[in-house]
């Protein structure tokens, strides 16, 4: 009951959750949401404005824009969710090890983290896609390389704080093994920051994926990614600004949904504000996410 009331009073969580659920619904059920195929071209009906037949208009090949964006949601979200999940797993592992073990291992691993942070994120991702070759999986791998450092830093800080607490000390004094202390005591207490960071990172990943496509280092056409739609839209900005606007709106609403969800979760899970303060490494609170990481 209290949980429900808290949910009701947590407007960001509610709105963000609704947006995310709606987008996920579109991403999962996209094949049934439109009579057109995402690659169905109609060169005589290029760049059409919204109509009854195409209620978001058509793109530069006369393909139905709604269909493209709905299919694109599936691709963009898969890349974002996949890369953030892997980055969170790697980052958490390294953060746990660093924060718990400390000493030389911490020193070395954190210098590697610094090394990755020293690269402008988009340039790092671009170079990696150039090395690995284009395609959805490789884009996701490049994004993992960009994101894992944030998780490592936040988790490490959380673990270090947690380690100093009395209950951990007493558990250790009572002879609990390291693994047990980490799994039973520390990890559950760092889950809050990880979940929050992950939701916020998903928003950043969506923007970064479109940014990479924009630079020509993304998923291959004719895959209907939002980045491609936006990049083509940019070519027709002056004559047909509609294409660009709609693609950008799709990205913005989705990112907004995940950001609101992240904020709401933070109020729910992390009242101490670990992810907010941390070392300034939260994606939504650091430049890495927006101006730096994907501008």
């Amino acid at each position: 009951m209290t949980a429900l009331r808290r949910l009701g009073s947590n407007l960001p969580l509610l709105v963000g959750g609704l947006i995310v659920v709606a987008i996920l619904f579109i991403a999962i059920f996209h094949p049934w949401l439109s009579p057109y195929g995402p690659e169905q071209m109609d060169m005589r009906n290029r760049l059409a404005l919204p109509s009854a037949a195409h209620w978001l208009g058509t793109d530069n090949f006369g393909r139905d824009l709604w269909t493209r964006l709905a299919h694109g949601a599936a691709i963009s979200l898969s890349i974002a969710l996949g890369s953030v999940a892997v980055a969170a797993a790697i980052g958490t592992l390294i953060g746990l090890v660093c924060g718990y073990h400390g000493g030389w291992l911490d020193l070395i691993l954190m210098r590697i983290v610094d090394l990755f942070l020293g690269f402008p994120a988009l340039i790092l991702a671009m170079a990696l896609v150039a090395v690995l070759g284009p395609g959805a999986v490789n884009v996701a791998i490049a994004l993992v390389a960009v994101f894992w450092t944030e998780f490592a830093r936040v988790v490490r800080a959380a673990v270090m704080a947690e380690r100093q607490r009395d209950y951990v000390r007493s558990a250790l004094a009572l002879g609990a093994s390291d693994a047990r202390v980490i799994l039973v005591h520390i990890l559950p207490n760092t889950l809050g920051p990880i979940v929050v960071l992950a939701t916020l990172a998903i928003g950043t990943a969506i923007v970064a994926e479109s940014g990479l496509s924009f630079l020509g280092f993304g998923v291959q056409p004719p895959a209907p990614t939002w980045g491609w739609t936006l990049a083509y839209g940019m070519r027709f900005l002056r004559s047909d600004p509609w294409l660009c606007t709609v693609a950008g709106l799709a990205i913005m609403i989705t990112v907004l949904g995940f950001n609101l969800l992240g904020d709401g979760l933070r109020d729910l899970l992390d009242p101490r504000g670990m992810t907010r303060r941390g070392e300034g490494a939260t994606p939504a609170a650091g430049p890495d996410s927006s101006s730096g990481r994907a501008s």
Partner: protein
Amino acid sequence: MLSYLVRRLLLLIPFSLGVAFVVFALLHVIPGDPAIVLLGEEATAEALAQVRTNLGLDQPLPVRFGLYLLDLVRLDLGRSIFRNEAVSTVIAERFAATAEVALLATLLSVVVGVTLGVVAAVRRGSIVDVGCMLFAQLGVSMPVFWLGILLMYLFAVRLAVLPSIGRGEPLVDALLAAAMGNPGVLRTSLAHLAMPVVALGLNGAAILSRLVRSSMLETLSADYVRTARAKGLPIRRVVMGHALRNALLPVISVVGLQFGALLGGAVLTEGIFGWPGLGQLAVGAISQRDIPLVQGLVLVFALMFALVNLAVDVLYVVVDPRVRLR
């Protein structure tokens, strides 16, 4: 303090070596090489082999890395393959362009972000607060390059009041010209700067306003602030004198990180506005496989980032004497 600074600066040396090694390794495995780009359509197998020899690309990897490190020790970043100029010169030429956008955008984000954050915190729950937070949410969610595109559409295409692309005279020169009584140059420079600065600055402002608001709310509810208000100090004094100062601490670190990242060049925003900055230079260098230039750029980026971080840590001490550096 001094020994701390020295230690941090010395740490930059192994850090730079690490960065240099990673970039070198990355550039080695990337497909395509500068010889292909250099010869373009005329790339016969024989010519390619010759150019590779001339560029030293046919040497064993450890030798190449060794030679590069030797140059690095002498603070020589090498020559750009495509520009026939020292890498340091090429970077220096573009640095000013990136720095002026980064500075102005950071300035804008601090002014707007802190103002909105403070107002929202003081008027918590009011319509002003809701408005500020709506701006913050939208600003954070909007991809910066899309905002750039929208600004361009509105101000350059529809209204045609701002130049859509390119840079005027360097800001420093323009300011000098204005001082000499020629304000037209400055106006042109500022007109070119407006959209990139607003696109990048608004996003920063959105991030900062949220941070300042929550930080302010925390300090406003702290005991000493309550005491100050109980003692009858006017609200303006309380906010400005006590709360803001303490709320600024987390803001400094975020502003520092933002500024550091902006100095790395806002790749997409520069691309959209044709801004001749470091981000554009880096993308061009990668897509030409201009190895010395890419290496030099990444090294400079990493060092700038590290130095800004250091500056932030030092600023912390200045703002809050309770913080000690070890």
